[in-house]
Symmetry: C2
Subunit: 765 residues, 2 copies
Amino acid sequence: MPYLPMIYVAWADGALSLEEITEIRSRLAASGGIPADSWVILESWLHPEHPPTSVELAELRDRIRELASELPDAERRSLASLGAAMARRRSAEGSRWESASSLRTLEAVEELLGVLGGEATRALLAPEASPAPPSPPEIPEPSFPVETLRTYLAGPHAEIRARVLALITRHEFVVPVGASTRERREHVLERLQDLADAGLGRVAQPETFGGEGNVPGSIALFETLALGDLSLLVKYGVQFGLFGGSVQQLGTEVHHERWLSSIGSLDLPGCYAMTEMDHGSNVRELQTRVRYLPDEDQFEVHTPHRRARKDWIGNAALHGRMATVFGQLEVDGEEHGVHAFMVPIRDDEGALLPGITIEDCGEKIGLHGVDNGRLSFDRVRIPRDHLLDRFGTVTEEGRYESPINSPGRRFFTMLGTLVTGRISIGAAAISASKTALSIALRYSSQRRQFGPSGEDEVPILDYLTQQRLLLPRLAECYALHFTTQALIDDYGASTDDEALRSRVEVEAAALKALASRHAVDTIQSSREACGGRGYLAENRFGELRDDTDVFTTFEGANVVLLQLVARGLLSRYREEMGDLSLRGMVRVLADRAGTEVHRRNPVRSRRSAEDHLRDPETHLDAMQFREQRLLQSVARRLKSRIDDGMDSFHAMNECQDHLVSLARAHAERRVLEEFRRAVEAAPDPEVTGVLTRLMELWALSRLEEDRAWFLETGYMEGSQSRAIRSLVNQLCGELKDDAVALTEGFGIPPELLRAPAARLPDDRD
Amino acid sequence: MPYLPMIYVAWADGALSLEEITEIRSRLAASGGIPADSWVILESWLHPEHPPTSVELAELRDRIRELASELPDAERRSLASLGAAMARRRSAEGSRWESASSLRTLEAVEELLGVLGGEATRALLAPEASPAPPSPPEIPEPSFPVETLRTYLAGPHAEIRARVLALITRHEFVVPVGASTRERREHVLERLQDLADAGLGRVAQPETFGGEGNVPGSIALFETLALGDLSLLVKYGVQFGLFGGSVQQLGTEVHHERWLSSIGSLDLPGCYAMTEMDHGSNVRELQTRVRYLPDEDQFEVHTPHRRARKDWIGNAALHGRMATVFGQLEVDGEEHGVHAFMVPIRDDEGALLPGITIEDCGEKIGLHGVDNGRLSFDRVRIPRDHLLDRFGTVTEEGRYESPINSPGRRFFTMLGTLVTGRISIGAAAISASKTALSIALRYSSQRRQFGPSGEDEVPILDYLTQQRLLLPRLAECYALHFTTQALIDDYGASTDDEALRSRVEVEAAALKALASRHAVDTIQSSREACGGRGYLAENRFGELRDDTDVFTTFEGANVVLLQLVARGLLSRYREEMGDLSLRGMVRVLADRAGTEVHRRNPVRSRRSAEDHLRDPETHLDAMQFREQRLLQSVARRLKSRIDDGMDSFHAMNECQDHLVSLARAHAERRVLEEFRRAVEAAPDPEVTGVLTRLMELWALSRLEEDRAWFLETGYMEGSQSRAIRSLVNQLCGELKDDAVALTEGFGIPPELLRAPAARLPDDRD
Ligand SMILES: Cc1cc2nc3c(=O)[nH]c(=O)nc-3n(C[C@H](O)[C@H](O)[C@H](O)COP(=O)(O)OP(=O)(O)OC[C@H]3O[C@@H](n4cnc5c(N)ncnc54)[C@H](O)[C@@H]3O)c2cc1C
Ligand SMILES: Cc1cc2nc3c(=O)[nH]c(=O)nc-3n(C[C@H](O)[C@H](O)[C@H](O)COP(=O)(O)OP(=O)(O)OC[C@H]3O[C@@H](n4cnc5c(N)ncnc54)[C@H](O)[C@@H]3O)c2cc1C
């Protein structure tokens, strides 16, 4: 009798082979202490040739359950105690099972059977699948005031963010379901007009021309817009950021006067036509020719061959009337490099102008609401003052003049104006991640699957792998958020500070590369974290992925940007290196000749105590060490190649992966610094607390990710790297109960979040 | 005069600040050896307050070019020799520049200026952007016979692959552009009928019922089908694989007789209804109730609550007439666990049958041609012989009987029949990768961007980062291809070999997880590798990604499968562990008590000579060590938790990342073994050669990826891990010229490849 529970479990979980049953029988026999009558029963149940049938087992289970239902909880904890209690209650042999020693006998048998008594008991006594699903898990109380965090994240541009949200949460901003590409494009154009009508196209423009003179605010605006339809975002970026920005930044007063206002109101829809079929990343080699014709005092814009057509130009396929066209300027037989020109492409009725040919680029993976086109020019004439001539002009006398004599420096100064776009795209990528993480974390807090035997299934966010999939990415999202806000501020402050501006250019390239990579990766992980539910279109991972994927490519392909960052670091002055020369690098090397990166005290750096590993100084120390060391070693490698007579292109190429690692290392060090500054400035001790944990998680998971490098260089030892791994696990556990609240900090209104998978019990239907 | 080229370069690249110019001037003055008259000219050009204007610089450049055009190549190599030669030819001072010492003077100045003479010279003398684009790069001759490789890859199932290709390359198999979801679904149904009409629905069915009795062939068929429309693939999988397979594998003769033929011909379209709203991964807890009603001798199938509806069921929303429904069987008040039942859901006209409710799951991210539905049953009656009763039956007397008495073992035996689906999905994922890599590598061999100054731009496949992005993935694609073929063979041989079958189950789970991860990752990388061009829908990365993404989720979520693999390894006998008990593991531990994994001779394992690092024994040694060590350490960690009284669920959860690493380590070790076997069996020395390089690249890039672990455990040292990194770079270089030919080995016909980005010069328009 008292053995029944064990016997049932032994057979029912299917884990025993017949050989093992035989083995157990003989061990039981050998162990002694089992009364003869029990032995008979036991033997009959453990007969290898006559195992109990499935029906017998099912009946046995029900009998045990019935008996057990009358027992107090304390006696239901292990198979042995359950068995003993049942025996005591029900059978004639009861009294025999009252002593502690008889319980030990039973426990010994349990041990022999090799079952894990506690949980097997729970499983055995668990009720049949209930007719109703368990109630949804509760969201734990957050450890911090959510509203305070939300306000802190919104930062100094809260007002403009609120203006954007008020608009884009309106019902007409919902993307029409099942709309064709043509309808999507019209819808986006209408919404773009709404934004312009609300004055949102002029935020960056100078106050003299009716704008708000608020460039940083315009980036916060863009960041917020990215919580809605990303096609609208990109169309907005083309019209007001790239097209409007080119007039503002590359043009001079006459151009501002003439065009800024109608661009801001969308009366003049336009394009930014830089890329060509054959030249995307390598802008310096654009093939479009712009010749100054002195007799007519005009420029002639010309596409010399089919592969020099302007490609991918947003707003070109349908709506653009004017385009900022980048081409090689030729004056009086002299080439002066790439310049930007205002070229009318359609008349006020939208008809193509003479000499202009436009094709639609065709269906894209995403951004269906953006009309990208391919543009070509057949000796199109434009007036002389359509040259955006801040950095180079053609005088009335037909002479070329530029405030920057060096064509190389001129080119990079012009390209420097791209920086707004890069910061904006980085910021927008982070917004898309925020959306994805909000959906995935909310779903993970609610979705149950599997659980301890005999208990409710657990929310999938209780799984370590699920935490590892999502929480470090949540931390990264915060890290990049703060870095972006700092960069926006720096950018705002850089107008009259050339050194700061160069630094901002490097950091913008780095941020854009990191943030777009983070977005692609986070959206995919979030999709998978939601299992099948994540594959439903309504849960939005598909559209997020399809629309943001290209953020890794436009505004500079990431791998190209990271090399730009590395070059910037090598020369310490980006403008000096932009031209691919290695001069600056060689100079850096000369400066440092003989000096080695200060090697940290190994005792200090190798400590693996938790408080040491959680110390932000430790993280910064490691990241600084890595950056310096990578900088030195890549410089050394480049130099040795050049000394051997290799040209810089091939030398760079042989060290490309190294350069990219350097750029990432730099970017992460910067992110950590900004994260730390943001934590220190947090307005509330509980907010500081949760942000500190997030920062630790971020920093440690980055170090964990790159621990091979630290081990290779001897900066870390195995024990330390293992300690980091378990600390990352621990931090995931510390943060999981705050995860949903942390996504609430992003302040994404439900109208924008939309995904049914993101519903919490309160708003469940 | 002879300084002009240097002066031009110094100014023109914009790299000099005014301070630096001043510095250079004074150094030049200090260096002496410059003739006074030259010094005057030099000074005038290097005047910090009066830099040359842009026009002066442009004129200077043209003058240099004109002069240089008359020089022989030898004299155009450095700025110094160019300057000297120009001086000799043209000016009165010519003779002064003939001596070697004067050349050295010039070189010293060049050095001072800090410019890199050779490439600056080329840049200076490069022709203006030419009016026509450079000709497309040539594809190098492959190092091996492509046709031989193709035949080898097609393997023993070449004939069935050819049958599939002959069909799906027909024009009606092209997915209609811009079709609505409804049209896509109809199109897929029609094509499915074409496949059935060609006999492709019966390949796996027994010959007795008109099939070909060729299960391995049916997987090769599926693999080939995956080169075409993936919606068709999945619909095919649902009808013939899951629905047909369930009848074949879970049913008995009466069911085979009654249904197999009409399933194979698609006269009976059906569903596989396992998943429910609340239960995806955790199949054992399904809530659908199936009660035997003795009075009627029927079953009653019932959905107890809304969240128990069958969810995601392919073929349910529109076309299915019958469904294999998984539910909890109850006979005479006894629960017997999950069983499968044939439940008619629509009549011959397609109208829903009484008691059946079906909703469309709605728009998905991809697989738009598959009609997934949500099914529920309101006390639906089915005859007793609709229970697929191979592993459990209800007798005429209304008694439950099963050849497997243990419900746990019974459940896992039933689920074991999922193995065909898993291998098939793994194989299909690899096919999708092959498509993506073919497009990206062909494009990368043709697309030029940037280049050494003054030379043609290089194909982007010349970039190390591009090679690193694509070539290890190409190697992985080959690795997984061979592993799949071996697994198909093993599966074919496992019918009567239970031990082999359990092994195949573990390997199938591992392969599916690895292959679907590889596909997602490779498709994304391929997209990015093609820059903007990759974002055009016509280049197919969007559809590939959207359709294959879910391969990480269905047929078992990857993270769940990897845990299953780890459990299988822990117990060494999967069936014994399937029930989550830790018994098997504890036993393994006991077996090995005290024995340590044999620690390799450090001298041997730490050698970093190239031949040692390229030796497959080295790779295998490392991978075996890792797997054994991870197995032991995770077992130890689990045991200590259990000894401390933690239940197995929580113990497993705390070690989840460790378990997943173990599973991956195991899978990679197996892949390496199969790759090696395939290389050894290759039919031609040149094919062996290229496959060997691929295998080395694969193995080393896997070791590189996980080098942190090897460093942590002391198996590798930093120097060795660095040597591996540079060897991976070197192998990328060795393989890049074969890359396009290696994709040709996949044998994807152009009708299926389609993407314009994949066109080579021969087939360019
Ligand atoms: C949706 C969309 C909208 C766009 N809108 C506009 C617009 O409005 N106006 C406009 O002017 N342009 C626009 N673009 C163009 C965009 O700026 C370019 O796509 C981008 O600059 C990349 O150029 P590419 O596509 O030619 O890629 P390429 O330069 O050909 O690069 C392709 C790939 O080659 C590799 N590669 C290239 N160079 C290097 C290197 N040096 N080192 C290592 N690897 C390298 C990388 O993998 C890279 O991804 C848009 C593009 C898209 C897709
Ligand atoms: C397009 C499509 C077609 C399908 N077709 C069919 C069909 O024809 N028939 C059918 O029966 N089913 C079908 N399915 C269902 C499919 O089999 C399930 O989606 C799959 O089993 C996963 O279940 P789930 O979606 O409920 O995810 P869940 O089980 O809820 O898991 C969600 C996530 O939780 C986490 N998680 C869950 N368990 C664990 C764990 N133990 N440890 C760590 N993390 C965990 C993982 O991140 C996982 O991705 C289909 C699904 C899709 C999307």
